[in-house]
């Protein structure tokens, strides 16, 4: 199936699926590095996409001290570790 999707050039994912970006938060929350990698491979997933409270995957991962996931996220150019949340604290605090 994956082969057919690639060959036919079909966009297998609806644009800006919030559904998929939230999955990144949950994988980060529980420190599943491989799942985080799989999700980040997808172009439609925002690596810095916040939850409704403004907390990003990096914040979820650092809140649970998931060091491996924090490293994966910090290696990316599109993740801002200094992004403020509503209460103006940063994830590393």
């Amino acid at each position: 199936m994956r082969v057919l999707l690639e060959r036919s050039g079909i966009n297998s994912v609806a644009p800006s699926t919030k559904y998929d970006s939230v999955a990144l938060l949950w994988a980060a929350e529980n420190g599943h590095e491989e799942v985080v990698r799989i999700l980040l491979e997808r172009s439609d997933i925002n690596a810095d996409g916040p939850d409704r409270g403004g907390r990003t995957p990096l914040m979820w991962a650092s809140g649970r001290e998931s060091e491996g996931v924090v490293r994966i996220l910090l290696e990316r150019n599109d993740v801002n570790p200094d992004k403020p949340v509503l209460a103006d604290i940063t994830s590393i605090l």
Binding site: T17, V22, H32
Partner: protein, 218 residues
């Protein structure tokens, strides 16, 4: 196998219900063995811890022996995952409201099955586990197991519950991501496609047919 490989000690009523799952198509109290029968069959190798009503092996050395001799129970975690998922897909278990605040008395095993099926399924799932898991994960936030998983592992301020106490927006992909089930993530990302949301087209039909073919080959 259940006593030696479960993620936490099972209560008497949990273990008894577990042993009545295989061969059943729904919750069936007639199929649940009595604890006395179970203990008699174990030839004295398992015992009930009276203070907590949990089942354990009589000696730690027996646990070590069972853990070291993996040929005694081939693929125990896949089998446990399969049983947990079979249970979740029983019509009566599917009919429980995800807003329930306590475990239904007819389903004592539902909490254990909800919290640990993903750990037993692991990142690489067998075909049977994948089929059963995808069935559970379809409409996951309507299933009581998603609520029990969130209550068990997620801090209260992060539990996505609505006013009635039911999970909201915690879909199958989110559950699989939280549990770390890589195979299921890949399967869900493939099927949760934009193509599928559109009216059935020739291309969609071809994709679905190909997917069914994949399943058979595995």
């Amino acid at each position: 196998m259940w006593v030696s490989h479960a993620q936490r000690p099972l209560h008497v009523d949990e273990l008894c219900q577990t042993l009545g799952i295989e061969g059943s198509t729904d919750l069936d109290s007639a199929n649940i063995p009595a604890i006395e029968t179970l203990l008699a069959c174990s030839l004295g190798l398992v015992t009930v811890e009276k203070s907590s009503s949990t089942i354990r092996l009589v000696r730690q050395t027996l646990q070590e022996y069972l853990s070291n001799n993996t040929n005694l129970f081939p693929n125990p975690h896949s089998i446990i995952a399969e049983v947990c998922l079979t249970y979740h897909n029983f019509p009566q278990v599917r009919s429980f409201s995800s807003a329930l605040s306590s475990i239904p008395p007819t389903a004592p095993f539902v909490e254990h099955a909800s919290c640990y099926w993903g750990t037993h399924a692991g990142s690489l799932t067998t075909e049977n586990v994948r089929i059963l898991a995808l069935k559970l994960l379809d409409g996951y936030d309507k299933h009581i197991s998603s609520k029990l998983l969130l209550l068990h592992g997620v801090r209260a301020e992060e539990q996505p519950f609505d006013r009635d106490g039911a999970p909201t927006g915690f879909a199958g992909l989110h559950g699989a991501a939280y549990l770390g089930c890589e195979d299921l993530i890949v399967a869900l990302l493939e099927t949760n496609s934009g193509v599928r949301r559109q009216p059935i087209s020739m291309v969609t039909q071809q994709l679905l047919a190909l997917q069914r073919g994949d399943t058979k080959e595995r």
